[in-house]
Symmetry: C2
Subunit: 257 residues, 2 copies
């Protein structure tokens, strides 16, 4: 079993929570892969450099200057901090973008109807399984950020949840994959203010219903779409849970049916 774990910006922005999470991650047995976001630090740095981040439907508009900033923050600062911390914990981490080893080719999103700039979409079928296998075979732990490339020399800013899903799909031919989306909530909830309202199982059919009924929050919809896409493409287990529950049960399991 290969564990693919996605960790979001809320945990990354909190040094104590990050350290605790990384210790849990290291304790996972067997081959594993970490995928991280880091949007808040990019927004903070953009502001320091006089830019105001523009978001449309939760996605950052990435002009050339912003692409430079997110590349610096995601692929540089956050990725290498995490790699150094994991190495200190005895975990042989290797930090990667989708450009490194052509791990994740992406396609620049069409400029219509909304021009997101240097933003890429991923075809999970193109993830470089051989590269992942060659690292895992030697006990290495890929640590992936959401900067990919168009294979023509241009870096592209991608969605970290999509990267996690794509990496999980790309690793599936090697061994069964367990994909865990970690965030600050205990799972997908029917009431965002009530932590007891976690939905234990979401299927393709119940997801449609939850969307129709307006029960899942808008930020959760792309995460669930990525989760379902991964389940459909052969990822054995998909779960959304609180970062501190990584090694425990709980949270929301996502299955096709």
């Amino acid at each position: 079993m290969i564990n693919v774990v996605k960790i979001g910006g809320n945990v990354i922005d909190d040094p104590q929570a990050l350290d605790a999470f990384l210790m849990d991650f290291v304790a996972l047995e067997g081959p594993k892969i970490l995928v991280h976001g880091g949007g808040k630090e990019a927004s903070r740095l953009s502001k320091e450099m006089g830019l105001t981040p523009t978001m449309i439907e939760g996605r950052r508009v990435t002009d050339a200057h912003t692409l430079g900033i997110v590349t610096m923050v995601y692929a540089g600062l956050i990725n290498k901090r995490i790699v150094a911390k994991l190495q200190a914990l005895g975990c042989d981490a290797v930090g990667l973008t989708g450009a490194d080893g052509n791990l994740i080719p992406a396609t620049r999103r069409p400029a219509k109807p909304v021009d997101y700039g240097f933003v890429g979409d991923i075809n999970p079928a193109l993830v470089n399984t051989e590269f992942i296998a060659s690292l895992l075979d030697r006990g290495r732990v890929p640590v992936c950020c959401a900067i990919c490339h168009d294979t023509q020399g241009t870096l592209l800013n991608c969605n970290a949840d999509s990267v996690a899903g794509a990496v999980a799909i790309g690793a599936s031919p090697i061994a069964p994959v367990r994909l865990t989306y970690c965030f600050e909530k205990p799972g997908v909830m029917t009431d965002v203010d009530d932590e007891r309202s976690v939905i234990p199982l979401v299927t393709a059919a119940s997801f449609r219903q939850l969307k129709e009924d307006g029960i899942v929050a808008s930020g959760m919809i792309p995460k669930l779409q990525n989760a379902l896409l991964s389940a459909e493409a052969g990822v054995e287990e998909v779960r959304i849970c609180r970062a501190s529950d990584l090694r425990d049960d709980g949270g929301t399991i996502i299955r096709m049916e």
Copy 2:
């Protein structure tokens, strides 16, 4: 023969020169490794963020904030730009710091007599030869920046010439290594204003003499020291030349005797 090539900030700062250099690099046959600096972009970004770079004897003083900036610029912006460009040229580049795969452990420099902050020195004997071999074996091309780690979770800013020398030494058990330091001059010159004054060969003995006579410029001394250290440690060929001469003869050969 493994080619290890170091490229400095002057070429990196000039997009046309960089593209021409990368095409020459890609044309080198057989396994190869690129090591890059990038000091000017870090200085520019530091200024944009209100910091004034402090240099002592050509080495940047690296406080915690500066470490973040150099990590962003070297390991993020410059490294990933180069990786994306190489991938577009059909070269299977993988961008790395010394923390990734524990490629290059470093030791933080003692705070006396000068406190350089988060600056590291490298013991070439500790370079991770197995990791380099595992990448080269599959036709991958490591692209290394000069950010290393202390193996205890802290990143360290190292000298890119030292990184190139250490990587060349670390690759030598795999196959004979040719180490080429590329920069904007045609080689080591007795008169910095006369490009015809290139010294074709520097040995350990002639280096001592050149230093005593005050003939080599101060910026060249650490480069020559690194070159001689590499030659002494078993690197088969060491050369200092102009970036555009990478595929030609010329420049200065460095040998122990």
